[in-house]
């Protein structure tokens, strides 16, 4: 028997998962410190720690294979998207069509100002359109997480959730259309450029509908057993995500639509624990760390001006659209300011759309994609703070204990 049979070899070769585990601990502690001493949202800490320790920062954590992360991110985002959908009352749009109008206006305006800006920077038309569609989406992850954490309620909160769900749907659909155009440009037939989005929307809707029905059935029988129910739900979300990818549909669209359909069909209101239980909450924390790890600020070096202008025109587009229709849709100036600003965050949905585009078109990943990534990183870090401040300014967070 030698030393080496029972003692570890020096230097230690630890699996990367160990650093991840440590990152989780540090990130959660930093998140708590942010809340306690700076009154900042916890997720800022999660993302920042991921960013600082990851390849984008001090590179203390080795690069992990994307596939390992992807499941965590997909599952957590799936939970958040389904959660968002199930908090949104689509019937409200019928009672107050001005909200639908505001949503369409802010999305169209965002698309065109970003598109225009990119053309002005001499970007090819199709590429500009792809980026502009991604810019439409507000981050559902940041919005849902911040609303949950700040226990906000009221007009701005309700509208923020609804408009976020809607602009994510537009973003995913029009992104696929734009990508189809990109394919058309690189030589595929026109027919495929038309059929692909149709397949995407129809297929996603069908899968979402099946998910919604199954969810209701299972909830009917298992709803009282919160823990059991959340496990079944995670299984379903994972299944739907993987199924959607396998069928080349959009997991984002499927889960968001599933949430909306479940809420729409339901006779009674249901409240679920945040992220459907503590297991879901852990996944959500991991997802924000992963987003930080995946963060890439290299685009800033070459196109800082573009990134800055992108952020600014996008924010102005969203804010001015909300302000323009505020009076008709029944909110005051202060609330409209808050809502417009709270629509600014970008995160997971934009990140996944960018990564997917980059995977298909490597030129995009090394070009404009980099600038877009920097834009997402900045709005991901600032997003939770902005949303929290906006909801506070609108008077929708609980009053401070005195």
């Amino acid at each position: 028997m030698t030393w080496s049979t029972y003692l570890p070899l020096w230097p230690l070769s630890v699996p990367p998962a160990l650093w991840l585990a440590l990152t989780l601990v540090v990130a959660v502690l930093v998140g708590e410190a942010l809340v306690r001493y700076l009154k900042l949202p916890r997720i800022v800490g999660y993302i920042a720690i991921g960013l600082l320790l990851g390849p984008g920062g001090f590179s203390l954590i080795p690069q992990l294979p994307a596939a390992e992360w992807r499941l965590v991110v997909d599952l957590a985002l799936g939970i958040l998207l389904f959660e968002l959908g199930s908090k949104v009352n689509l019937r409200w749009l019928k009672a107050n069509p001005w909200i639908a109008g505001t949503s369409l206006l802010e999305s169209i305006t965002t698309f065109f100002v970003v598109y225009g800006l990119l053309l002005w920077f001499d970007t090819a038309g199709v590429t500009a359109a792809v980026v502009a569609t991604i810019a439409i989406a507000t981050s559902p992850a940041i919005v849902v997480r911040t609303v949950t954490e700040s226990r906000a309620q009221g007009q701005v909160t309700d509208r923020l959730l609804l408009m976020t769900a809607l602009n994510c749907i537009y973003a995913v659909i029009f992104h696929k259309l734009a990508v189809a155009l990109m394919h058309g440009e690189t030589g595929a037939g026109l027919m495929h450029s038309v059929l692909q989005p149709l397949y995407l929307i129809g297929g996603s809707a069908l899968l979402a509908w099946l998910f919604g029905i199954t969810f209701e059935r299972i909830h009917h029988h298992l709803g009282q057993h919160e823990e059991t129910f959340s496990f079944v739900l995670f299984g379903m979300i994972a299944f739907a995500t993987i199924m959607a990818s396998t069928l080349k549909l959009s997991p984002i669209l499927v889960l968001l639509a599933a949430g909306l359909i479940t809420r729409y069909r339901r006779q009674r209101s249901r409240t679920f624990p945040p992220h459907f239980g503590s297991a879901g909450a852990v996944l959500v924390v991991l997802m924000f760390i992963a987003n930080g790890l995946a963060a890439d600020l290299n685009g800033l070096r070459e196109s800082a001006l573009l990134v800055l202008l992108l952020i600014m025109v996008r924010a102005i587009a969203k804010l001015s659209s909300v302000l323009a229709l505020a009076h008709y849709s029944g909110i005051g100036l202060r609330q409209a300011m808050a809502l417009g600003i709270a629509l600014v965050p970008m995160s997971s949905v934009a990140l996944l759309l960018t990564l997917d585009t980059g995977a298909t078109f490597p030129a995009f990943a090394s070009g404009l994609g980099l600038a877009l990534m920097s834009c997402i990183v900045i709005l991901e870090l600032a997003g939770p703070i902005v949303v929290q401040m906006a909801l506070g300014a609108a008077g929708e967070t609980p009053e401070k204990k005195t």
């Binding site: 209101s269 008077g395 204990k401």
Partner: protein, 371 residues
Amino acid sequence: MSLMPFAPSRPLSIGVELELQLLGCNDYNLVSSAPDMLRRIAKYPHPGDVKPEMTRSMIEINTSVQQEYGGLVEELRSLRKVVSDAGRFLNVAVAGGGTHPFQHWSEQKIFDAPRFHHLSELYGYLAKQFTIFGQHVHIGCTGPDEALHLMHMLSRYVPHFIALSASSPFVQGHDTGFASARLNSVFSFPLSGRAPFVLSWNGFEQFFDKMTTTGVVESMKDFYWDIRPKPEFGTIEVRVCDTPLTVEIAAAIACYIQAVSRYIMVEQRAAPQEDDYLVYTFNRFQACRFGLEGVFIDPCTHEQRSIREDITGMLARISAHAMELRAGEAMERVREILAAGNGTSWLRQTYAREHNLGDVMQLQAALWMGN
């Protein structure tokens, strides 16, 4: 500040104030949407008045001065329509009922107006715990002495009004066992209970002046009595009722009070006795705790019967007056409550069926909004 002179008003005219709950459509918890609702409602012409209340999750609707059930219920229905439409536009549900079954008082926000901030500072957490919802009924009186006579004579029937309107069994997530748990919150205020036994307006003015000199009160608003005079309207105001689950029941109970008042004004001219109040708190407690099943002790004969039986007897005694006031339909609704139960029975039955207070609240809102 001395007491306002008593403005004469048309005898037996009625006015109703209802405090309503504003609820979020996802979890049916209280939502601080009063400013949004009031801004929206102000855009539409409507009868009566819609006003803010202590916390931002409640609003109050007031009718104009009405003479009989038909006009009253019609006006309440149009107020309900305006409020419900604004609610649908803003994704806010509106409900009756005396308490919210699972709201947490510390999460309520005080409405931004000087009077409410003053009360909040004075009463501390009581102000936020005052997130309870009542129906106030005004009865017009020809003069101040008549008003005091009516106020003291009506006290005998306070248990009737409590039991008929009771719709607040649930507080902070639990069944309190009370038919009207809302009144327990009112009792914690220092100047709650019954008005002092003073039968002349001169005497009442002296009492009020003495109270203001002590610095305890500034205006009539500081008295949280079960029934109090409202000199500027020329009315007495019955304040013991929970907000019922529908405007129709609210109108019926208001008209029951109106008919009882007519009976008192026409048939019971003899002065009230202070000893009538000996059974007052006992009877009132029985009504709060057990509703229509509560024990009622007759202040004159000391006989015991259930509050339901006493109301049944009263309905027979006032039928001619109700006829005169064209309140036949209102009395029919009161009879329905005696047979089918009050709001509290509806809430308990619904909870037994749904097992979830959020669902109860959703159905309660659907009932009030009429959708």
